[in-house]
Each structure stands twice: as C-alpha cells, then as structure tokens.
C-alpha cells in the first residue's frame, strides 16, 4: 500500500496556535479588562455627580476591588488556557518524534 505522506504534519499547528493565543489575549481578555476599567471610571464620574460622603467612597472602592478580582481572574483563565494548549503541542511533538523508529 502506497503511503502518501505528502503534507503530513504533527496535526498541530504550533505557529497558528501561538498566533491564536495572542488574538485571544488581546481580543477577549485585554478587551474585556479595558472595558471593565473604563466603564468603572464612567460609573465613578456619574456617582460623584449625585452622591457625596464616606459611604460613596466605600461603595466605589468595593466595586473597584471587584473589577480587580475579575481582571485577575480573566488573566488567570488565559494563562491556564495557554499552558494547557502549549503542553498539548509539546506532547504532539513528542509523539511525532517517536512515531517513526530511527535506525
């Protein structure tokens, strides 16, 4: 049986995945973090116009802490994705190295 190996790859596009991960970080993670931060600034401005006092400052501060937690959580989720996908690529690479026995 003729084995057509032309164009055979590891089944894992390392370069493509690396590019996709950058797109995911920029378009999903960074974009969401930036929007949350700018929306929070807009909220602060709106609140300052209608409310004064210590309680207002604490309310804004509480939401600020929540924004920080969310942004950190988004970043951590991305790092987990990046790590898992990278490991998958490395495993694919090892399979490829050992698939054909070297004489």
């Amino acid at each position: 049986m003729a084995l057509d190996i032309e164009g055979a790859t590891t089944g894992y596009d390392s370069a493509g995945i690396a590019s996709l991960l950058k797109v995911i970080h920029a378009d999903v993670i960074q974009s969401a973090s930036d929007k949350l931060t700018s929306d929070k600034a807009n909220l602060d401005t709106a609140l300052d116009a209608i409310w004064q006092g210590k309680s207002e400052l604490i309310f804004k501060s509480n939401l600020e802490e929540d924004v920080k937690k969310i942004c950190k959580g988004l970043e951590d989720a991305y790092k987990t994705l990046e790590s898992e996908v990278t490991q998958t690529g490395q495993q694919m690479g090892k399979v490829d190295e050992n698939l054909v026995e070297k004489k």
């Binding site: 999903v28 929306d39 909220l43 609140l47 209608i50 409310w51 309680s55």
Partner: protein, 158 residues
Amino acid sequence: MSINDATGVIQHDVPDAFENIETASAAVQAQVGDPAGNFITGTASYGADFAGIASDKLDDFNKAVDTYRDAAIEILDGFDTQKANIEKAFKGSTAESLQKFFTSIKNLCNAYVTAINTEKAYLLEVNQNWINTTAQISSDIETDAGVVDAQKDTINLQ
C-alpha cells in the same frame, strides 16, 4: 459644677452646653443649607440629602449602576460570539481547553454581574437606614435644644 457654686459659675456652665448644641446644629445646617429655624423645629428636610444619596437623585443612581451592570452583561454576551469564531480553529484536546477557558471567564463575569446587583441593593438599604438615622438625630437634637432652652429660662428666673 455644683449647683451650690456661685451664680456666675452656674451661668457660665449652662450657656456652654447650649453653645455646643447650637454649634453642632449649625455645622449640620451649613452642610445641608437648612435655615436654623427649620432644622431646630425638626422638619427633617435635610433627609436623604445629608451625605447620602439625594432623594431626587435615587433614579440617577439606579440608572448609573444599571448601565454599568448592563455593560458587564454585554462583555459576557460578547464572549459567546468570540468563542464561536475562535473554536473553529481548535480540535481535540485543545478544543476542550478552549471550552474550559470560556466557561471560566463566563462564570467570572456572571459572578461580577451578581456582585453589582448585590452591592446596589445593599447600598440602597444602607441609604434608607441613613435617612432613618438622621431623622432620629434631628429629633434628638430638637429635644436637647428644648431641654437647654428650659434650663436657660430656669436660670434667668433665679
């Protein structure tokens, strides 16, 4: 000071007490702009305007926080669109990783939307408590002012 002290000492003490109450009420009036008479008689028109959310601004407050919360929901919805576009490039175990990733970030944003609603509801409750508390302070100061007035009258008669 003992009541058996010289008259001059007693007269000195009572005006001090009265001055403290007047000073306190004047400080509050300065912040809320109430005329002296209105505050002492306890009309409580300062109500929610004193360091809380002004009663005519509650709608603005609700709108501002709801707008902010809805913006977070938009981000959440955006994740679904982005996932649909990106997942086409992932297969096998990497597709599973991507699925977990989007599940994580959607859960995060859902929790954040819930947190915003909770903070708003809590704040509105706190503001109402503030209104109730300041109304009580007004009532208490009015009572104290009345007591000091009575004491002044008593001293003057002596």
